[in-house]
């Protein structure tokens, strides 16, 4: 039962909002100034609407196309999340295996490092020609874009336990599994999250470019079509929805990081 002195959820919400505002007001003012300047400059310089529309025009015109934008956000979001999740599920155990296997370190690891230098997006036309315009080739492209940073960071994470902690585990007589669960896994989490966050930033980029190359739905497809129809207002709306999608995915990863490793210096500093 709540204590009489504790504040209500609404009051706590207001307090959180006030605190957030007091920390973020400068950022909000900058954003407002950016959009107001854009609005005024387009009018003042008489920029044609088919070159650069005003923010107010973008909002008004795109609201008529909101259903399509929301649906395409769902499509692109699905491709992104599936590819990203598949990359995490496969890359983390593989990174772990490579960190502990000399054979894999001498075979797969150099191969992965060289592949990391290849722009994965260059494979997109091939996958689309092999697998068509559907969901699968986009998921594979997102997977490829995300997989390598995650696996390389996972190798680094699992192979970097300090000498002291390694010796400490050995001196207790703990087996590999117990040492892994109690020490090695939590110690590896911060470096793993470096990979997760880097991949999250690139995941929507992969999905969008894959849609540019060959698709009949999704935000990448939408931006390409409306740009061809001389509708930059709608293209900007598509870009805005892509930004929101990217921020949502990155925000979710960051939130997970805060919940799983609140003790890490990067999380403590951010808080």
């Amino acid at each position: 039962m709540a204590m009489a002195s504790s504040e209500s959820p609404a009051a706590a919400g207001v307090r959180w909002l006030m605190r957030w505002f007091s920390r973020s007001w400068l950022f909000l003012v900058f954003f407002a100034a950016f959009f107001i300047s854009w609005e005024l400059l387009v009018d003042w310089l008489e920029v044609p609407r088919y070159i650069l529309p005003k923010p107010s025009t973008i909002v008004i015109k795109s609201s008529a196309d909101l259903d399509r934008l929301v649906y395409y956000t769902w499509v692109t979001g699905t491709e992104t999340v599936l590819g990203y999740a598949a990359a995490i599920v496969l890359a983390v155990p593989l990174g772990l295996a490579i960190a502990f296997s000399r054979f894999l370190r001498q075979t797969i690891y150099p191969f992965f490092v060289s592949i990391e230098m290849t722009p994965k997006i260059a494979f997109a036309p091939l996958f689309i020609s092999w697998l068509g315009f559907g969901l699968l080739p986009k998921v594979i492209i997102v997977f490829l874009v995300c997989f390598f940073p995650i696996v390389l960071n996972a190798i680094l994470a699992f192979g970097s336990l300090s000498e002291e902690l390694t010796r400490f585990c050995r001196a207790t007589g703990a087996g590999a599994w117990r040492s892994f669960v109690k020490v090695r896994l939590p110690a590896a989490m911060p470096q793993c999250f470096v990979g997760f966050k880097y991949a999250a930033i690139n995941a929507t980029v992969g999905a969008t470019i894959a849609e540019f190359i060959g698709s009949d739905q999704g935000l990448g497809f939408y931006i390409q079509i409306v740009t061809g129809n001389m509708r930059p207002d709608l293209a900007f709306a598509g870009i805005f929805f892509l930004t929101v999608l990217g921020l949502a995915i990155f925000g979710l990863v960051t939130l997970t990081e805060r919940l799983l490793i609140p003790w890490h210096i990067s999380v403590r500093r951010a808080a």
Partner: protein, 261 residues
Amino acid sequence: MSPTTATSASIEIRAVRKLFGSGAGEVHAFGPSDLRIAPGEFVSLLGPSGCGKSTLMLMIAGLLERTDGEIFVNRDIVDAPRTDVGIMFQDSTLVPWRSVRGNVELQLELRGLDTAAYRDRIDDLLHSVHLDGFEDRSPYELSGGMQQRAALCQAIVHEPGTLLLDEPLGKLDAMTRERIRADLQDLWMRRRPTVVFVTHSIEEAIQLSTRICVITPRPGRIDHVIDVDLPWPRGLEVRRSDAFVSCLARIQEIFHGYGVL
């Protein structure tokens, strides 16, 4: 499994030598040297940085393979990590994702012991090093001295008969060192484990030890073994005694002879 009290162990080192690397890159890190430590002794390995004293400690713990010679703990040859010792490493083994209590319990959990059975012992230990009220704090919320005291509790919670301490006070300020020195002495006097204490502080070695092994600069060899005949307990005032000053002068003379002082 419930808490047990292990008996102090004897340690014997016979012609132990350690080389790192091979060929042109070979480094002679330690030895050959011999040493016998009786159960319940507090022996310091004293020498300049890089003389191989930490290497010797790790070899006693079975955490580093020796190149030649034999090491026995309680007459058992050391050929694998010893799980019956308590070790404090130069760098902290406190993990940031656990509280102070959680870190002490980590030693037990890794050993597959029931932490509930050790609850009172952990309380006693934290109390004895003045960490009451900090049990639920994270290591990063503690000062350097408090972290070292928590690390000491972590190293001894399973009641080892032998303690191997690798410069546990090396990174602390003078006042904190004094406090932890007193805690360490108190702990040794109450339980009498066999202690191998690695240090490069002559005063610290004299104040805490029953015997001091003076190690030469690299390649380190145990060159002198000095009995420290001072009354217990040894507080700060012992440093003004004639016996302390003459012991200090003798060791300084030895290091002067090595060219490190």
